[in-house]
Symmetry: C2
Subunit: 708 residues, 2 copies
């Protein structure tokens, strides 16, 4: 580098402030169907109720979020960019002790262990910690969200009394030892065993081969003194599947106990404040009572018992208690995006580059491309924020026991899998776009975008690999489809024929043609139609239903031939994942639209509706090929989609400062110098210098162009 | 965590090897137009001429690449992941001395300074260094590709004699001080001045305000003893625009010389082996002869002269000499992608996850989604590799002086801008997909994907921000359009009307309908048609032409109203960049297709044609909405696109090991343990263990499912 740039001066885009002009009535003759609608030009006068939207975004657990945000303002809790790994690990360890002292991690535990039985608030508070240091957040997640939570939810009262106090107080830093080098997503296939020995009333924890080492385990390399180890419980010669065991790892001096060994995972792509490592167990013995025995127990004589008869259902029930990891990553991904957009948008409103017609230079956010890069992402983060709040309420309903039904649990699983996948991928995308939008300054660690991206990278594959999670969502969608689909052969044939006919209609362009005729001569009608939330929902929901039906029918064609069904499913895997994403997008849209109910008519609602529309139309634009191919949008309406997005982006442009304010983050959360006035100060100084030199007659003349 | 994953076992996709089955004639009744063509099923027998393709990829400067690859095998030249920044900076400094001793950096210089006048070979060799450590590569680029190259190309013989020996020998580590905090992409607006003083025959280099500090400058924080400083040359009260000056920075002890000051840029998102920093000059004086005076000179009395009369053309000529940075980044981005795909694809062929029907577990690359994630990117990297070779030849033609014409230089600028933008973005995308495809293992620094991604991040915004570069390409396209467009009002009106009519035809679905009828009943005909390179080229080129024409006509509507034209251009900025990308894709396709001429009929050519088709159809799929909207593809043909991609991906699947081999990289270049047998060894050990336990009757029974 980073000697940036022989990028020749290109005066790339004129660069006069476009916002008001774009909306001037009949500003041009480009045939843009969105031009010429009269509402705008006054948009700079739009004032939203910032506090109201702030509260809406903070959600039900606003107070927990506020407390956590205050904690994150303490410089001692914040990441030092570029800190060497050993120091960073030590610093994060200390930060966890601060969390305990501040009462920041006790919320979800039973009151008898100093907790508040506050599940939603716990995750809300946890999510905000990402603003201080994602390593600190995730190491806390390992200790209390995984290690402690496993004891809490998979253990019984005796386990709680024995193990929870040390975990909550952090006297016993611990590990959540589930993943093995050989198996991550497929937990059911892990190979560590816990074999019961009735003679001594102990379990023997054993790692049979290298692939069965526990791997990527937070706290394993250095700080973990105990672990919840997932292993196959074997008693009386029978393998009862995966169960969790409390296993001491290190002595008071930090040395491994006999039979335990391990390795440091070494440097990682991010989150280097956490000491991830590997663990292996060579016939390590623990008392029978170290089995976390809520869902499965072994009597002294070796007899196995469980309240859940089916081994499969038992396994999924146990893993289901761990859904909170996904829920909280969804929330953290939303928080990180707010910070990223606040940095990039603030910089874009102050940074000037390239001369404009009037002799000054334009700010980046007045360039058409720059608006398109950042403003639609602002709409997306609002959608994800409302979707997350909804997910958090579902989570709290289930975990508080208020609505702990199998259906509600299944909703929770599906929502968590869908939203976590979408928001964590979106976070990487937004962080990268923000970093690029800030150019070389975005690459400096002090401006935080690269560090956040590096730390959040693993969010897309841990706590459930996004690709695997979306397959879970897809399976649920297929199950629902099957429940709806006709059962007997004759009806199925009819059903298939009906869908085939509609496909033919698509292919022949008949539908599209009809729609075009209806649209003809009413370009603005297309836009008006797309503004209608019923149209938006019909389009989004119709896409999900059709995609799932197409896959479902294809699979149904296999009949009872399971090998063939498996092949067809594999061939449809790519499409199924796309269908799951479409479903997640629909749920995000629903959440955004429901949130609008909280806001009465007026400018605030108007602006939020623009953002919702921008989110919806962004989805339509992204999947335009599908809509055209299936005849759901005519060419006319399809053109209106992009044109109306351009229109909305220009409308939102002047309101960006207010929208950023609704996030409610303080300079101590943002921290990037380029978003805290450094750039504005430089711009002001440069302008003042040129003005003073010009006034004093000290500026040199420009070399004249030669006469032709 | 990285306690990966309560990702519940989902048996996501059956997972039997799909490749042969997918191609079985009439394997299913899904209406997939690509199913049922008989060629395949024998694809595993396909053997390509690996050496031939290897040579094709190595290109004209194969020997320079080989020499550089051997150098990269030296562990002393390789990055130590997680090394603290100060040590990493010191290590890279030493590596640069090794490059000098090895004769690795002298190629482009004149023979009298120990060089070979070998411009293409120099970049080819440089590109390969990315496999060892991108920091080492880029720091070498700063010293010899920017600092040295500026003296070489912007200086005259006297400058060469005075400055080049110290630069080539690395006795004088130096900086390329062009970018300022306030101006990167807009170099013409930098604010550092070099004011000539005839009394002392010196230039006074001065930084007027904070925004004019040189920033992101490699070698500035620590190692730079001199710099080529870009500043506005002022003499006799006239500003002659940006020129380059050789300015000493530090004394032998490494302390700043009087008047020079600076700062360390601190930790960055990557490339932390380079000491980027800031520089400021407080009335620093250098002799008149320190002006690099090839394109502009100042006589002792202060008279300015230049061989190029126009200040604008002079500026662009000076910057044009620096195009090699972009060319070489394009090549390095291709190399990095080959390494990334080799890692992820190798792992995907060894890693097993989730049980399949027959009791074993499937390898990742047999899952439909996994194939879709990685195999199309393999096709893209072949396209980019051939495109880069073409660019490199253009570069060598110009820089060797063999074809140094204004037209050829303009081609070079456009190709370099277009390819560099596409390949550097593609590199980030491919590295990320590869890292995610390797799950938690992909996040470990030892497996290199996160480190390469972090280091290559800045490639998309330095040496010309991609967004700005694509606007340059777009401007060229618009200029060409204007040259073709009719000149008089009447003809323009007719031209516009003709395009409008075709637009109407699109909108009404008439064309599409016609095409559907033509396609009807011949599903395979659609596929056959898409396989025709003429069809592919027509579709790709037609898209570029139409996009440019649409924007061009819109701008033409402004007539002589320049403010209006600027507004319209700004509104079209987003579209113009998309048009530039389309143009770049077309050029990549052309390069791939031309490369096929080098291969005679047979399996090798067949496979390369599959890859070219996969690249082409990938582009059609990506832009399907555009093709549908403009009536260039019927719904029928559009469906054939995705179906044929699925087909091609399955065909290529069994040939992946051979294709990886054509890259020609050795284990010492790849280095990721997961791609060098660690995963295979674990899989083998686990299988052997289970087999032995089963044979010995030691495996426990599985708990039985309860009776219903």
């Amino acid at each position: 580098m980073v000697d940036t740039a022989p990028a020749q001066r290109t005066t790339p885009a004129g660069g006069t402030r476009p916002a008001p002009d774009v909306d001037a009535p009949n500003a041009d003759a480009t045939g843009d169907p969105a031009a010429g609608t009269p509402t705008a030009g006054t948009d700079t006068d739009v004032r939203i109720d910032v506090e109201l939207v702030q509260e809406l975004l903070l959600g039900r657990w606003a107070e927990d979020r506020r407390i956590s945000r205050r904690l994150a303002l303490d410089p001692a809790m914040q990441k030092i960019e570029g800190q060497p790994i050993p120091e960073h690990r030590a610093r994060v360890l200390e930060q966890l002790r601060v969390l305990v002292d501040a009462g920041a991690i006790q919320r979800p535990y039973p009151t008898e262990f100093g907790g508040q039985d506050n599940h939603g608030g716990n995750l809300a508070a946890f999510e905000e910690l990402v603003t201080a240091d994602p390593s600190m957040q995730i190491k806390a997640g390992v200790q209390w969200g995984l290690f402690g939570s496993a004891v809490h939810h998979l253990g019984t009262e005796a386990n709680h009394r024995e193990f929870l106090p040390g975990i909550v107080s952090f006297e016993v830093p611990g590990c959540f030892a589930m993943t093995e080098t050989g198996h991550g997503s497929d937990v059911q296939s892990i190979a560590t065993t816990a074999t019961y020995d009735p003679a001594t009333e102990e379990f023997e924890i054993h790692t049979p081969f290298r692939g069965a080492w526990k791997d990527y385990i937070g706290n394993a390399a250095l700080h973990g003194h105990a672990a919840v180890v997932f292993a196959k419980l074997v008693t009386a010669g029978v393998d009862h599947g995966v169960h969790a065991f409390y296993v001491p790892l290190r002595n008071a001096e930090g040395a491994f106990l006999p039979g335990v060994s391990g390795e440091d995972d070494g440097p990682k792509g991010g989150l280097n404040g956490i000491d991830n490592g590997r663990l292996a167990f060579d016939h390590v013995r623990v008392p029978r009572t170290n089995l976390l025995n809520r869902y499965g127990d072994v009597a002294a004589d070796g007899t196995y018992s469980s309240p859940i008869a089916s081994p499969g259902r038992r396994f999924f029930t146990m893993l289901g208690t761990l859904v909170q990891g996904r829920v909280s990553l969804d929330g953290a991904a939303v928080v990180a995006q707010k910070i990223a957009l606040q940095i990039a948008l603030t910089y874009a409103m102050q940074r000037r580059q390239f001369p404009t017609g009037d002799g000054t230079e334009g700010v980046l956010l007045d360039y058409g491309r720059h608006q398109r890069r950042l403003i639609p992402r602002l709409a997306t983060v609002f959608a994800q924020s409302f979707a997350h709040e909804k997910l958090l309420r579902t989570f709290d309903d289930v975990f508080s026991g208020r609505e702990d039904t199998p259906e509600r649990r299944e909703d929770l699983e599906t929502q968590a899998a869908a939203f976590k996948s979408m928001s964590t991928w979106s976070a990487l995308d937004t962080l990268q776009e923000a970093r690029e939008a800030c150019g070389g300054a975005g690459f400096l660690a002090e401006n935080r975008l690269t560090g956040l991206r590096a730390d959040l990278d693993v969010y897309v594959t841990f706590e459930g690999d996004n690709t695997v999670l979306l397959q879970l969502v897809g399976k649920r969608l297929l199950t629902e489809f099957r429940a709806k689909a006709p059962k007997d052969a004759a009806a199925t044939a009819k059903f298939v024929a009906a869908v085939a006919a509609s496909k033919l209609a698509d292919a022949s362009g008949i539908r599209r043609l009809g729609q075009t005729v209806a649209d003809r001569g009413s370009l603005t009608a297309s836009v008006a139609d797309l503004q209608d939330p019923r149209t938006q929902r019909d389009l989004l929901a119709g896409r999900v239903d059709t995609m799932v039906a197409e896959i479902g029918m294809r699979l149904a064609s296999a009949g009872k031939d399971r090998a063939r069904a498996a092949r067809l499913l594999n061939r449809s895997q790519h499409e199924l994942i796309e269908a799951s994403k479409a479903h997640a997008e629909l749920m995000q849209w629903d959440a955004f639209t429901e949130a609008l109910d909280e806001v009465t008519e007026g400018d605030t609602r108007r602006v939020l509706v623009w953002l919702r529309d921008l989110f919806a139309l962004g989805l339509l634009e992204q999947h335009l090929d599908w809509y055209l191919l299936h005849g759901r949008l005519s060419a006319q309406r399809a053109r209106a989609v992009s044109a109306y997005i351009d229109r909305l982006v220009a409308r939102v442009r002047p309101i960006v400062p207010q929208l950023i304010e609704t996030f409610g983050y303080e300079p101590g959360h943002v921290r990037a110098p380029i978003a805290l006035g450094a750039e504005q100060a430089r711009q002001d100084e440069a302008r003042a210098w040129f003005a003073a030199e010009a006034a004093a007659g000290r500026l040199p003349e420009q070399e004249k162009k030669p006469r032709p």
